[in-house]
Symmetry: C2
Subunit: 530 residues, 2 copies
Amino acid sequence: MNVDGKQIINGVSATTGTEFFYAVERVKGNRLDTRFFNASKADIDMAVTVAQQAFEVTRRKSGLEKALFLEAIASELEKAGPQIVEMACLETALPTARIEGELLRTVNQARLFAKLVRDGNWVEAKIDTGDPDRKPAPRPDIRSMQRPVGPIAVFGASNFPLAFSAAGGDTVSAIAAGCPVIFKAHPGHPATSEIVTRAILAAAYATGMPAAYFSLLQGDKAEVGIALTNSVGIKAIAFTGSNRVGRLIFNAAAARPEPIPVFAEMGSSNPVFLLPQAMAERYEAIAAAYTNALTLGVGQFCTNPGMLIHESTGAQERFYENLINNINAAQGGVMLTDAIAHAYAKGVAGRHANEALELLAQGELPQDEQLQVPALFKTNLNTFLEQPQLEEELFGPSAIVVAARSKAEMINFAEGLSGHLTATVHGTEDELILYKPLLEILETKVGRLIINGYPTGVEVVEPMVHGGPYPATSDARTTSVGTGAIYRFTRPVCYQGMPQALLPDELKDGNPLGIWRSINGQFENTSISK
Amino acid sequence: MNVDGKQIINGVSATTGTEFFYAVERVKGNRLDTRFFNASKADIDMAVTVAQQAFEVTRRKSGLEKALFLEAIASELEKAGPQIVEMACLETALPTARIEGELLRTVNQARLFAKLVRDGNWVEAKIDTGDPDRKPAPRPDIRSMQRPVGPIAVFGASNFPLAFSAAGGDTVSAIAAGCPVIFKAHPGHPATSEIVTRAILAAAYATGMPAAYFSLLQGDKAEVGIALTNSVGIKAIAFTGSNRVGRLIFNAAAARPEPIPVFAEMGSSNPVFLLPQAMAERYEAIAAAYTNALTLGVGQFCTNPGMLIHESTGAQERFYENLINNINAAQGGVMLTDAIAHAYAKGVAGRHANEALELLAQGELPQDEQLQVPALFKTNLNTFLEQPQLEEELFGPSAIVVAARSKAEMINFAEGLSGHLTATVHGTEDELILYKPLLEILETKVGRLIINGYPTGVEVVEPMVHGGPYPATSDARTTSVGTGAIYRFTRPVCYQGMPQALLPDELKDGNPLGIWRSINGQFENTSISK
């Protein structure tokens, strides 16, 4: 396999860094042959410099040109599919079917943003044609639209080696905006990242895009990411990962002479609320589906439902019985990296040692130290309120069940929550109406409120919000999934009194792109006749 | 006049703070009678607590209810107009005609946001009706819209005692979003702020809104603002003022356990580019209009054009002659506060002392120490590149003219610029096309690009962008003028599988509000038939 372990900057594989690390065949624990070099300061500077140069080209690309590039990325990913899937499975221990599904999602994401920029409506074109007769002075012609901000640093996530990695949603939304990407690969899957980078570059070559529209940096040290964050030419950062690292990057970016926005998705524990009637009617199905959502992919999802709260009702014994049996029967799995497995094991040990938590169920303990198993604990509301750290995400297939004694306690619990990506409520249609106050509280706590479903499996559709109040993300006004993700990398630019010939096509009277625009306050997709 | 100098929290005038300061009759320098009390920590905590409670009400208000409140604010401001104008002129030394114009603008802003929320299209309703037949699992129904974030701290600006103050654009956009406002008055016009607060509260009372939708805090110490910034219940901050104070607030907000966004508009020096043919054809008119824009209101505008750059051409002598005569003849004026007058005098003295700057013209030096006069300096490109501090805003009617020897030098100058609110280019239609590369550079440096106009006089229209890259603002993705200002205070919330009865009206199939929505990727203002 064509992997050489260096940075890929401006289309060239090279490194001045000499420190290196190895990719690992995760299940067997064997090192792969290739050495991956930590990007040096010089490598980073070079990547940022060529990205700044490329921005002069990429910011002028039309929606159609960017769509062709994104579609070519999709095609190249499909072409390299078998190689990508094999390597991603090898590096992450995720099963083939999961990685194949993730590749499909990644390809679809690229095509979603291609469609977005091909349609062109996303630019938020707004036109006020002015008023030449206004007194004391005429009101000038004023028009505005979204324009790209500049080079973006994207940090790959460990748990989605494709969909939140080199060609993932952050990259394709930045490319769609017209922003060059400098991609810092996650050290958990450096070879996969390199193979995907070559697919992106083949697409750039095929569609006449500058090679520096996308560069790859490798590194298994925090220094690489911090140096990238501090690079003057970087205008925004997209990150998916832990709260600890996300906050580190956020702090560094805020302390720069020129602060830049950081869009960090830092996970959450995604509480699930189980209302009494739903529990009585569907305890078996919910126990099964909840176990599945919790243990799927060894629980390595940002949207993993790590908290479950219910009221004390007659059905709860049967629910617990099902849930405990399911968790006890659940298989363990190899986690994504040593560090993640270690953190999970430590977290579960902490829950075992916590006297306020009762162990309900734990998957079959394996012979293999690499394998981690689901673990379910129980507590009451008071403990939860006294130990706020219980609300923090434990990345992996462990959950805490909170037994509330009443509806009021359940609402208290919801009010005390900090920010999460999602909250889920299971209830019958009648009881959901009775629990409207609960839903109205949860709406202020999360980016996505799910009724009678499960938070895992984030659909890539226009209305999706994969975000939420801190600490789920560092900027609740944004999403990293769905078409809204593009606005992280754009800003509005206003043209006052600009001659028609010099306006962007999106703002010309003739509306040559045929896009929807707000013209003097009315949505129209027609031209302006004067 | 009914001014008692205390905080107004939850509709009640009271203070636990005991430190105080006085408002000043600016032109004469006399203290007004009323003492204004610095808000204590207890006052601030109380204001934030009641704002959090009010948010439970305000976030549920319909667009129509918020529109009625905003329209009532507009009417109450008109009713109190004479009193407001008198006090604002007294406190700021700004002339009556200017303040009357600013009041009209402030009233219009409130009505603009009333119209925005009455129409309701602003919420960015997006609907994906799902796919029950998708394999392996159905795609759920997913809908999203913008929702308010919570209590907002607004810091009043010195230079717009109405339009960027208590009932200014930040306040009315936050109210339109459904967010309670805690307003920290600028100590330069505390009495005006109190009178305007009473108008807002009269409107709240008349339209059944909670009194804590808007609270007033007074203070002439940085501690008041920092304590407000650090209050857990505050979810975002809007600020207009100096770079020094803006960055102080930004840093404090970023260092909070839960960081919050700060939308700081920190001014800029707004370069004006004068192309050769325009100079030859219109030197007299441009010299006159530029002088007017520079000296208007003693130059106390964020968009004041403090830099002018031109190429060496035959017409430049005549242009300079006109410009120098105009500036020499320009009147001085009393600046907004002692601190501002002192900073301006110090800045102009620094320019006098700078050997690389040549004094071209200075308004007639007054007898009165309070009066500050316009001052025009000249330098060349190299000096400008060597002394980056020359690019920083000097708040007041002083400008630096940069003589470029060629088109290339002018483009170099543009490339070296940091972020500004605006850039302006004067050119004939033909030469603007020749200078397209200049326009394309400037677009990356500013929020608004003005052709053959002047940056002062920010129109309150939908496409307006009053923002720009750092250091002009702390978040270039936003604007503080125009309808886009509302999105600083909202975030998208996504509802998955939500029953119709529990969805917000904006997202219901029947579209009871008749708003424009994106439904499965198509813009429509109709209902969804199933």
